[in-house]
């Protein structure tokens, strides 16, 4: 133990003198802080956008309510296509409400799918294809490239910093001829190597974890506490720690073979290329072949066919003339009743038919995607990078599953919305001020936290297992003298 701490101190002294440790730690902190800055600014602008949408919606709603009051009291004559009393118009757009999924407290950690998948939909009585495919404005080039968020720094760059500082752990001593001298002291090669490794591991992982935690606690502390996501942060740190340990174990293992420094560097970068760049991409090919997404073309064709069918079925309703145009007294209610233009009823029914018909198709898309995600989780062990990425992204609340849950909840809300309007549209009840109070509203339900946390811990555990195996193998190899 005494020699171990001696090695530690000695190593620190050398690394501080040659500035390598300080350089690595500073760069890592800078990159992580920059990543956090990008993640945070995206999260903030997303939250602002949502707030703006909500306030726009509130303004719109109160405008409509006032207009209804004016029409009912006879102060205003309504328009055919913007009549706030008409349930078909209110339900299909005029009074539409947003279904919003709020961003998680840890979202600056990983942008994940948040730049690709919408976090809000404007739900109406129209069919799902009309509002479920709204996308955020983002250059496809940028989507393809990805962003510089903390998870990128951790998954891609952290291993490289670990290599930079420990690729020649053993080889440099050999090349400088100092190894024999060191071993002439009463110390084993294993102790020496572990001492050298821990002299690097402790500061590098310490700095990494601090660079993740500190900005969160300073800038997002309230959000983390209020939303009760402190456990999420703790699990995120465990995953990051496990990932860091893994790459240190890899360098120890590679070093234990006693190759030259250049060979070590090559082998380590090769390992990095395979585990960080190639394995996830190959896993992606595997996953999308095992559970391929159904055809969007089929969905498009199906939507069109059922629309044609509806147009044929409601032929008569659609041909009804627009008497309302001439006789504007028809736009005003009598006894709370109102004649909804038959064309609009027909369009409601067509949309409903489309929804019913494509329900199974859309469900198929979702279940295939779920199956893909299951596969990613089951075979994530092929690369600790996949495990770390998936774990951190889901803790940040920007993973595929959370977006799928959101879509599912929007699905239910859409049904509720249509149920509210259908009797009104078909029987010609006017929309009243009181109805606006009763409009179904969407509240995002966070999925079960314990499943998320358990799943993430399981990922950390898998990385730890690989780490332990590598450490043990490295330890056994170092016991052999031929390394010298």
């Amino acid at each position: 133990m005494k020699s171990f701490s001696l090695i530690l101190r000695n190593e620190w002294r050398i690394m501080i003198a040659d500035k390598s440790l300080i350089l690595v730690c500073t760069l890592l902190t800078l990159l992580l802080s920059y990543g956090f800055f990008i993640g945070l600014s995206e999260a903030v602008s997303r939250d602002e956008r949502v707030r703006e949408l909500v306030s726009q919606q509130e303004r719109g709603q109160s405008g409509i309510v006032e207009q209804i009051q004016r029409i009912v009291s006879g102060h205003e004559k309504p328009d055919v296509f913007a009549n706030p009393l008409n349930p078909a118009l209110v339900g299909s757009g005029l009074g539409s409400l947003y279904a919003i999924m709020h961003s998680g407290a840890l979202s600056p950690l990983a942008l994940g799918q948040s730049d690709l998948l919408p976090d809000h939909y404007r739900v109406s009585t129209r069919n799902k294809t009309t509002f479920m495919y709204q996308t955020e404005n983002e250059s496809p080039w940028n989507l393809l490239t990805g962003r510089f968020d903390p998870v990128f720094v951790l998954v891609y760059l952290l291993p490289l910093f670990i290599f930079a500082i420990s690729y020649n752990l053993l080889s440099s001593e050999k090349e400088q001829g100092t190894l024999r001298m060191q071993l002439s002291h009463p110390v084993t090669l294993q102790t020496l190597m572990f001492g050298k490794l821990f002299a690097r591991l402790v500061p590098v992982l310490g700095v990494t974890i601090l660079a993740v935690i500190v900005p969160f606690l300073i800038l997002r502390g309230d959000a983390v506490m209020v939303s009760g996501q402190l456990p999420h942060l703790v699990v995120a740190i465990i995953i990051i720690g496990a990932y860091g340990f893994f790459w240190f174990a890899v360098t120890l293992f590679v070093n234990s073979f006693g190759f030259s420094s250049a060979s070590n560097a090559l082998i380590l970068v090769g390992t990095w290329v395979f585990l960080v760049l190639v394995a996830p991409v190959l896993l992606n090919v595997f996953v999308s072949r095992m559970s391929p997404a159904p055809s969007r073309i089929e969905l498009a064709t199906e939507t069109r066919l059922i629309t044609i069918d509806g147009l044929n079925r409601y032929h008569e309703l659609l041909s009804s003339d627009y008497r309302h145009i001439k006789d504007s007294s028809m736009l005003v209610p009598s006894d709370g009743k109102f004649e909804v233009p038959e064309r609009l009823q027909a369009f409601y029914l067509i949309n409903k038919a489309v929804d019913e018909k494509i329900e199974t198709l859309l469900g198929d898309f979702e279940s295939r995607l779920r199956a893909q995600q299951d596969l990613v989780e089951r075979f994530g062990f092929v690369s600790p990078s996949v495990l770390t990425y998936e774990g951190l992204v889901s803790l940040a609340g920007t993973g595929t599953r959370r977006y799928q849950d959101f879509k599912q909840q929007v699905n239910d809300y859409h049904r509720e919305w249509k149920e509210f309007f259908e009797p009104r549209i078909m029987s010609g009840q006017i929309v009243t001020v009181a109805d606006f109070e009763k409009l179904p509203r969407f509240t995002w339900q966070e999925p079960d936290v314990s499943i998320l946390l358990a799943g993430s811990l399981a990922k950390a555990l898998q990385i730890f297992l690989a780490t332990v195996v590598l450490f043990a193998l490295g330890f056994m190899r170092l016991a052999k003298v031929d390394v010298l």
Binding site: N137, W141, G146, R147, L160, N284, T301, S319, R323
Partner: protein
């Protein structure tokens, strides 16, 4: 003499197994990527072809109905898959593939394949282009990092120079040997393309595809050439192979993983884009203004589709309304898309330092899978939609407006449906791609020249 150097280098590659192992691994990935991409393309292609045909048949065979109702049914157009997309799918997964041409409003190209995939895709996709762009330079570095430094360490460099071998000849020989390696990497690309084109009666003329393939191969040779000369230059400058390797690996990692993402942020800061909500608000405000103006001018009221305009003028009103919006829509979408292009161009310029940034965009353009090509499709689909709208509104003006109040009783049949032409999209020719790639190609060539100069400069004094 040069060939002597080349054969000696190549022999060395083989001897220490580096070449066989590295190139073998890259080749396996490369071929897998090809097969996966090619098969996918074949499937989707035939599906789209059939769907497009069915779509038009349904349009022609629809029963008699009011033309505007038919416009609600609309027509789907599917983006054709460019022949070389299996080499480089570019942004294909991040843009839609289907546009529904319907009444009233320009619609987005929908259904991004990326939405049907897990987060894993953000690590990248296995495509031949990815393999060459990311792993190609690594292979060159692995083969060449000790070209000069290794010989210096072994003491053979001194011997060579003492024999009177000029350093530029040495450089040329070593570069040629590495080029041979690079060409072996690219050769399958060439072969596969020619094979794909020869058995291909799919969209786009063979001639055009061959020209594109040629330019693609040329671009990749320039790209790998840059890395060859940089590798040799660094190897000549550094004292030991270890330092040479570390410097080159750092250059490769920064260029292929760090710089692209960092520059996305730079581009977004320099050319900010409005978010969807802002964009819609601005567009809608302007549309309302333009509509009000047009209705005022033609019908003396600023209220659209109100009781002030009798049904006997609705055909005319439809046309006026459509045209009033076109200008604002074109301007807003045009400005947004221009911004995307600006962002890309800015990133391309950094290709001077990090060649990956310019080759990526060049390769997408040559494979017809970049945003410029996508935009061309979206624009012609929208033109087709406007054509349908024009045919409908002029038909309504001529016939339905005479029906007065019973406007929606008016119906047309097959004769009118067949007046609407089939949507035939001809993908732009290679020249179009080349025109759009002048920037990236220029940057690539410039960095090649710089790297050559750098290599000659650093090898002027080898000892």
């Amino acid at each position: 003499m040069t060939w002597l150097i080349v054969t000696r280098e190549v022999r060395e590659f083989y001897r220490d197994g580096r070449f066989l192992f590295g190139a073998g691994l890259v080749a396996v990935l490369f071929i897998t990527a090809f097969l996966v991409g090619y098969e996918q393309r074949q499937n989707v292609f035939s599906e789209r072809e059939v769907a497009q045909q069915l779509d038009y048949d349904d349009w022609i065979n629809q029963p008699e109905r009011h033309p505007h109702d038919a416009a609600h049914q609309g027509m789907h157009v599917f983006k054709p898959i460019p022949p070389l997309s299996f080499v480089d799918p570019g942004i294909t997964n991040y843009v839609g593939s289907t546009q529904w041409l319907k009444a009233h409003r320009q619609t987005e190209v929908k259904f991004r394949p990326a939405q049907d995939a897990t987060g894993l895709q953000r690590f990248g996709s296995l495509t031949p282009a990815w393999v060459i762009q990311v792993l190609g330079p690594l292979l060159i570095i692995v083969l060449g990092f000790n070209s000069f430094s290794g010989e210096r360490e072994q003491g053979t460099l001194r011997q060579l120079i003492s024999l009177g071998v000029p350093s530029w000849k040495l450089l040329r020989g070593k570069a040629l040997a590495l080029f041979l390696g690079a060409f072996l990497l690219i050769a399958p690309l060439l072969l596969f393309s020619v094979w794909a084109v020869s058995g291909d009666d799919l969209a786009g003329s063979r001639h055009d595809t061959l020209i594109r393939s040629g330019f693609l191969v040329l671009g990749y040779l320039v790209y790998l050439g840059i890395f060859i000369f940089v590798t040799l230059a660094v190897s000549a400058l550094t004292a030991t192979s270890r330092i040479s390797l570390i410097v080159l690996l750092a250059f490769w990692i920064i260029g292929t993983t760090l710089a692209p993402r960092a520059l996305v942020d730079v581009a977004r800061m320099v050319y900010p884009i409005p978010n969807q909500a802002e964009f819609n608000t601005q567009l809608n405000q302007e549309l309302q203004r333009e509509y009000a103006e047009a209705w005022q001018e033609h019908f003396g009221t600023d209220k659209r589709w109100g009781s002030d305009v009798p049904l006997s003028r609705w055909g005319e009103a439809l046309r006026v309304d459509d045209y009033a919006g076109y200008d604002a829509i074109d301007r807003h979408f045009g400005a947004l898309w221009d911004r995307y292009e600006d962002q890309r161009r800015l990133q391309e310029f950094f290709g001077l330092l990090f060649p990956m940034l310019s080759i990526r965009s060049y390769s997408m353009a040559m494979s017809a899978t970049d945003f410029t090509h996508h935009r061309d499709f979206a624009t012609s689909a929208e033109d087709h939609r406007r054509l349908i709208q024009d045919l409908i509104s002029s038909n309504l003006t001529q016939h339905a407006d005479g029906h007065g109040e019973r406007h929606f009783d008016y119906k047309v049949g097959k004769e009118f449906w067949s007046k609407v032409p089939r949507f035939e999209y001809a993908a732009p020719a290679a020249f179009f791609a080349l025109q759009g790639s002048l920037n990236s190609l220029g940057v690539l060539l410039a960095s090649l020249l710089i790297s050559i100069a750098f290599a000659f400069w650093s090898s002027r004094n080898l000892i």
